[in-house]
């Protein structure tokens, strides 16, 4: 145990800001997962691998002399079509089956993507340099890389656009209707097949944006996808489905929690503490649910 974080208030400020910026980025990935989970009842294990693929798109732009920040526009466009292709090839065959089948299918896609990326791009760890510099706050005591601020800003921008799109557009309304009741939507003339394809495409596009941002803030590697899947899974579990503000809050909350756990318990317990929190939340939910049931009896 180390309470340095409380002895120096500036470290607390730093931890909070780091956590929030990180959390916003994770929330974007989690939102994509929540969307397709809610609409199609599919838990996408390949979520993280789609993120990494998006990262490689930005990385290759960087290699060819284009600023990697443009990746946040190019990667989602390419990834949207990748998403639709995955839907047409695999997901449409498992969409109405039980959760276990879809988890197995996306697990297979995840392994396939890892190996293909390894084959195509090599196993080296790579990154794209944005050259954005650093923001110093509070007399240089708190430092924030501009790339992280940029990532958070872009994530928020995409999230807002998506919310508006879901509310206002015809496809958005169809997606929401399908999420509420697929059969009723079908009866009322919604082409659910198209809605599913679009949902998967939108999710992949969000992963593309997040991947491009991760290539400028962190590092990418063909086998680094799984942690992103797990993080977004956790955020969705904590927030619940179809609850965008909840996803954003739980993303940031987990980010801050993680940073503080790192300072207090040590870096080795960083991931573990988040899992512990997840278990506690699930037990608590179960407990609440069982009380409700008794009440109904």
């Amino acid at each position: 145990m180390d309470f340095m974080v409380f002895q120096y208030p500036m470290i607390s400020v730093q931890a909070c800001l780091d956590g929030i910026l990180l959390g916003i980025l994770f929330a974007l990935i989690a939102y994509g997962m929540a969307l397709q989970w809610g609409v199609m009842n599919i838990i996408n294990i390949a979520q993280g691998d789609l993120v990494i693929l998006g990262g490689y798109i930005a990385y290759f732009m960087y290699l060819y002399g284009i600023h990697p920040a443009w990746g946040v526009i190019v990667a989602p466009v390419i990834m949207f079509f990748v998403g639709i292709a995955i839907y047409k090839l695999v997901i449409n065959k498992v969409v109405d089956r039980d959760l276990f089948i879809s988890i197995l299918a996306t697990f297979g896609i995840s392994i396939l993507f890892m190996q293909l990326m390894n084959f195509a791009f090599g196993a080296d760890v790579v990154l794209a340099n944005s050259g954005y510099g650093t923001t110093m706050l509070f007399n240089n005591n708190v430092v924030l890389p501009n790339s992280k601020i940029f990532s958070a800003f872009i994530s928020i921008l995409f999230a807002i656009c998506l919310v508006i799109y879901m509310k206002k557009s015809k496809l958005g309304r169809a997606i929401r209707a399908t999420a509420q009741n697929a059969r009723a939507a079908k009866i009322l003339g919604v082409d659910t097949e198209k809605v599913y394809a679009a949902t998967f495409g939108i999710n992949a596009a969000l992963c593309g944006v997040a991947g491009a941002l991760i290539s400028i803030t962190f590092t990418i590697h063909p086998y680094m996808g799984l942690p992103y899947t797990i993080r977004s899974f956790m955020i969705v579990i904590v927030a619940g489905l179809g609850n965008l503000p909840g996803v954003a809050m739980s993303g940031m909350g987990l980010g801050v929690f993680e940073e503080f756990a790192d300072y207090i318990l040590g870096t080795e317990f960083r991931i573990g503490s988040v899992f512990l929190l997840l278990v506690l939340i699930l037990v608590y939910r179960r407990f609440k649910l069982s009380r409700k049931r008794e009440y109904l009896k």
């Binding site: 470290i11 990154l127 110093m136 590092t219 940073e259 870096t267």
Partner: protein
């Protein structure tokens, strides 16, 4: 009567089939000595796996073209059976079984990484197959009492203790404060143990001791602590992702530390990916082309570097160089044993005492090479932004003077 004839012919057919298949794969066929190796050609270690394979192939071609191996008055050539272990320890152990019991290989070369070597070593030990490995440095490999395992490289605990000695030397022999950030894997934790020993030996003090997760890509929290505690040395070991993440975040967060020492800088192509931001980083390396060791096959480091670059189109990382050295060790042992008897070859390997372009090689009873120190190089960049790795320690091999302390970010 008829039935017994059928059975007899069936059995004899099987025996013939079996014997030919064994003969065609046995350790020495005609004038060929066949070695076996499981290498990571796919999976997460595939880039270093390919460096390992290129290193082996380069040495095989060189030794074969320069007269081969002379045993019992006859000349033999090396050949290697490769299998892809998919960077997976279980697969590597299976392939080692297959190489030995199906393909009849009697001498093995090591895989890439400590983890995979750890998986294979019990198998080679069980069958009494001598294995010369060039890419497993974890200390735990050499404490298990293996009799048939020989490593041409220096063990992991020696990677960064040189850096602590260097910092103490710069501090006029007084102890220094050390911040440590190590990934939680066998290799990095061995490096950590070495650093802890050095801290104790020099009367230094550790102020931060962070263990980074395996999927590490963010060490901002550690670096904030470093900013607060202002240690004299920061040591980081977390394979290539650790090296890349450290340099990215140190430069973004403007962390000033007088000395920064790491592992895996050349595998991470640090100066290529980060340019001037990687300047002044100290990197532990098994080998560097400017070292002046010599042998008859590759001449010296500079020649090896040039020949390898010509053949494979990229400069050899130390993983390739040490792999080439493993073949030189095998050749030397076969010739001294003057036999293909596994026990005799093992004893000859244990008595190895030679110099290669890669360094001196002499094995301790545990199998590790005790005659080759690690070198530290420092990334140095010119005004045009071109960066080069220059050896700064040990002083005997230094080709440049250490820049210490590292200038602060505001002065760069």
């Amino acid at each position: 009567m008829k039935l017994s004839k059928i059975i007899l012919s069936f059995v004899s057919a099987l025996v013939i089939l079996f014997s030919t298949s064994v003969v065609s794969f046995a350790k020495v066929v005609g004038d060929k000595i066949i070695l076996g190796a499981a290498i990571s050609l796919t999976g997460k270690y595939s880039s270093n796996g390919v460096h390992t394979q290129n290193g082996y192939n380069m040495a095989v071609d060189r030794i074969n073209s320069m007269g081969g191996v002379k045993v019992g008055g006859k000349t033999y050539k090396f050949d290697i059976i490769y299998y892809d272990d998919e960077s997976n320890p279980k697969r590597a152990a299976q392939l080692a079984e297959r190489l030995i019991s199906q393909d009849g290989v009697e001498f093995m070369l090591g895989p890439y990484s400590s983890g995979l070597t750890k998986a294979i070593a019990p198998v080679t030990e069980k069958y009494g197959v001598p294995m010369v490995e060039a890419n497993g440095a974890s200390r735990s490999l050499f404490t298990k009492g293996y009799k048939y395992l020989f490593a041409v490289l220096a063990p992991a605990n020696l990677y960064l203790d040189v850096a602590i000695d260097l910092a103490v030397e710069k501090n006029n022999g007084k102890g220094v404060t050390v911040a440590m950030a190590f990934e939680q894997d066998a290799f990095s934790q061995d490096v950590r143990l070495g650093v802890l020993d050095a801290i104790k030996r020099t009367g230094s003090k550790k102020v931060i001791d962070d263990k980074l997760p395996k999927e590490l890509n963010d060490m901002a929290a550690t670096l904030v602590k470093v900013k607060q505690m202002k240690p004299d040395v920061l040591v980081v070991s977390g394979h290539t992702k650790g090296a890349l993440t450290a340099i990215r975040q140190i430069s973004e967060m403007k962390v000033d530390v007088p000395m920064l020492a790491m592992t895996h800088c050349d595998a991470a192509k640090l100066s290529k990916q980060h340019g001037k931001n990687s300047q002044y980083a100290l990197c532990a390396s098994q080998w560097h082309k400017t070292l002046t060791y010599k042998d008859d096959f590759f001449k010296d480091g500079m020649t090896y570097d040039a020949d390898f670059t010509k053949e494979f189109g990229y400069a050899p990382p130390y993983q390739a160089a040490e792999s080439s050295a493993a073949l030189l060790v095998f050749k030397d042992a076969f010739e001294r044993a003057d036999s293909f008897d596994q026990k005799k070859v093992r004893d000859a390997l244990a008595a190895t005492n030679m110099q290669t372009f890669y360094g001196n090689i002499k094995f301790a009873p545990g199998g590790q090479n005790v005659d080759k120190p690690m070198v530290l190089f420092q990334v140095m960049c010119d005004d045009g932004g071109k960066c080069e790795n220059k050896v700064v320690a040990p002083t005997k091999w230094a080709s440049a003077k250490l820049i210490h302390p590292i200038p602060s970010w505001s002065e760069r």
